[in-house]
């Protein structure tokens, strides 16, 4: 009985496979499928939700047909686990025959999918992950998020220019944290700054108290902080609790810590923190005002930099498809994406034709109150910053 059932199910699977094969070519003619792989559950779920929302919003605003192709998005949840990303990418490429894969909440996920994009010869649009090396792992990777060195080097340069001489660093001990730390140190030290204390915090860290006490005792002018977005709030609260703000120790860092998504919940402890980042919901352009208003209307909360990464990512796919005149060939699409320039809600951005990485403005912002809510208010702009991790080479 058991054997029979198995045989039967195998036979049925076979039939289904033949059926799909027969159907596949007909579908591929008039549709363009995007396999979207995002963490929709797990600790990184807020990233996934923002990107998914932003893509839905973009498709509502711009319709779902481009150059005669109907855009179809297939969403898969990888819970930010690279094994799952790989399985999802395989499934999407092999059985769904997608024309592009996109999303990727964390660096290991983007890396896990890279060899599959190369083999499948389809574009991989990285909308969130921020480690520098990602785009080097496949000639089909194009990034619309940011790289951590982009913001960390800028804040290093800014700090030395603005009278900050001694800095203590507190970074989470994982790839993006180390990326942020190295690039900050390099630029800060080159400008004559001194690192007085360096602490790496474990990623799953329940209590910042002892590390903060160490920071306080080191008496720096400022502390450079990078912790994953979700921990920023706890960090800022304990920073204020321990009186580091009153001791005159400023918080500086890449802007991930002050994600718009969470900023308002941090309370007044966050006021005055200076960060360098690529997007603030308070960016004063018309494009951004429209984007924020539409996003708020559709989903009830403020978009963060992850949402913008998704919004620009889908825009890139739309534009590339327009440029190729509906040709879905991976090489043609990537070629069309190279050098593309447009006005994003975050400001003017472009895709570097050599590295396929994003070139964008980095803003220095200070947390302040706008209409009673906390926002990152931009006050200085570094224009068209390329990924410093690659400029070096």
């Amino acid at each position: 009985m058991f054997v029979q059932a198995r045989k039967l199910s195998r036979w049925m699977l076979g039939a289904i496979a033949v059926g799909t094969l027969a159907l596949a070519p007909a579908r591929a003619e008039d549709s363009f499928k995007i396999g979207l792989i995002l963490p929709m559950t797990g600790g990184q779920a807020s990233t996934g939700k923002q990107i998914d929302n932003a893509i839905k919003l973009y498709m509502q605003q711009h319709g779902d047909t481009i150059a005669g192709k109907k855009i179809e998005v297939i969403l898969k949840d990888d819970a930010a686990l690279p094994d799952k990303t790989k399985t999802a990418a395989q499934e999407l490429i092999v059985s769904e025959k997608v024309n592009a894969i996109a999303g990727f909440g964390v660096t290991p996920a983007a890396l896990a999918a890279a060899p599959l994009a190369t083999q499948g010869k389809i574009p991989e649009i990285v909308m969130a992950a921020g480690t520098s090396i990602i785009t080097e792992k496949s000639p089909y990777i194009v990034r619309t998020s940011f790289t951590l060195p982009q913001s960390s080097t800028i804040i290093g340069d800014w700090a030395v220019k603005n009278g900050i001489k001694k800095v203590a660093t507190l970074t989470s001990d994982y790839a993006p944290g180390n990326d942020a730390l190295t690039s900050f140190k390099e630029h800060f030290a080159a400008g004559g700054g001194e690192i007085v204390e360096e602490v790496k915090v474990p990623l799953a860290n329940p209590d910042f108290a002892p590390f903060l006490q160490r920071m306080k005792d080191a008496k720096p002018d400022a502390m450079f902080v990078f912790v994953p977005a979700g921990q920023g709030g706890n960090f800022m609260k304990q920073y204020a609790e321990r009186g580091l703000d009153k001791a005159g120790i400023k918080v500086i860092g890449p802007g991930d810590v002050m994600d718009d998504d969470l900023l308002n919940g941090m309370g007044d402890a966050a006021l005055g923190a200076v960060t360098a980042h690529i997007y603030s919901a308070a960016h004063p352009s018309q494009a951004n005002k429209d984007f924020v208003a539409a996003y708020k209307k559709a989903f009830g909360n403020r978009p963060g930099f992850m949402a913008v990464g998704g919004y620009d990512g889908i825009h890139l796919i739309y534009e590339a498809l327009k440029k190729t005149g509906g040709k879905t060939d991976g090489d043609a699409l990537v070629a069309a994406m190279k050098g593309m320039k447009w006005e994003s809600p975050r400001g003017p951005i472009s895709i570097d034709p050599d590295t396929r990485d994003i070139v964008q403005n980095v803003y220095i912002r200070k947390v302040g109150k706008v209409d009673g809510e906390l926002y990152n208010v931009e006050f200085e702009t570094f224009e068209a910053v390329k990924d410093p991790g690659k400029v070096k080479k």
């Binding site: 797990g42 600790g43 329940p206 002892p210 706890n234 204020a240 609790e241 321990r242 969470l262």
Partner: protein
């Protein structure tokens, strides 16, 4: 010198918090002999109830704390009557599988209802900041934790050792058949104890939101800490887990302060050393039951 004292204070506060979170587990595991890995889920319930009351309904923090206790206790008693009591006589493996399933369900449920982002509880301004006692920085909120947890511990110890209910509970644990023969309503005693343990966890969850952070993954993230407290402390009394919590709290804070590179390993090393030295925990019964 002042840094040492500040660290000691932070360590005590952290340890006390661990104790309130974990002592319910010590009760169910040690006294009722039930492996309840879903303990953290009750802590999370309390935390979220407190957060919703304070942030969305504008309740004062101190009024929301007892509600955190009560709501977790109520959820506890409902689940105990509906589910847990059927598993008291089952093997430990069944209990582990059942309760871990409950953990995953609670994570998914909270994620669905509130979203996965971290939740903060708005504290009254009198609880924010630090004040100096002879140059030693004392966090107000941490002081509150020490006071509340200290009082709770003392009360618990008194109730268990001195009251009629305490002796009934101990009798019910040692020999349920003889106890019910003597007219003790064993299921009722167990249900009440279970609910009380859950309530304590709920209170702990509400208190810990500020320090440990509160998100739907709370029960999974801190399960290991609860288990360390109970295994190191031994589960036959309240004093054992209490001292174990303090030791872990102080050890963890000191380790992270003085050897930040090794910091996270300190408490695990402590645990291994203690368990090699005393396999039943610091205050465990010397012979296995």
């Amino acid at each position: 010198m002042t840094a040492v004292l500040t660290n000691l204070f932070d360590g005590i506060a952290y340890g006390m918090l661990l104790f309130v979170l974990a002592c319910g587990l010590a009760v169910t595991l040690g006294l009722m002999n039930f492996v309840n890995l879903a303990h953290g889920a009750f802590a999370m319930t309390g935390g979220y109830v407190c957060a919703v009351l304070v942030n969305q309904f504008g309740w004062p923090f101190f009024a929301a704390l007892p509600l955190a206790f009560i709501s977790s206790a109520v959820v506890g008693i409902v689940l105990e009557r509906l589910l847990y009591r059927h598993l008291y006589t089952r093997s430990h493996l069944d209990q582990v599988l059942f309760s871990i399933g409950l953990v995953f369900m609670s994570v998914a449920a909270v994620d669905y209802i509130t979203g996965s982002q971290r939740v903060f509880i708005k504290l009254p301004s009198m609880l924010e900041g630090q004040f100096d006692v002879l140059g030693v920085g004392v966090g107000r909120y941490r002081l509150l934790i020490v006071v509340i947890c200290g009082l709770l511990t003392a009360t618990l110890q008194l109730v268990l050792a001195r009251t009629r209910f305490g002796s009934r509970l101990r009798a019910a644990v040692d020999d349920p058949r003889a106890a019910s023969g003597l007219g003790i309503n064993v299921p009722q005693v167990f249900a009440f104890t279970f609910a009380f343990g859950c309530g304590l966890a709920g209170l702990g969850g509400a208190l810990s939101a500020e320090i440990l952070g509160l998100d739907p993954y709370f029960p999974l993230k801190f399960m290991i800490y609860f288990l360390i407290v109970v295994t190191v402390g031994g589960s036959s009394s309240i004093t054992g887990p209490f001292l174990a919590s303090l030791l872990l709290g102080i050890g963890d804070v000191a380790g992270k302060y003085y050897v930040p590179k090794m910091g996270p390993f300190v408490i695990y090393t402590l645990m291994i050393v203690i368990l090699i030295w005393r396999p039943n925990g610091l205050f465990g019964r010397t012979a296995m039951r």
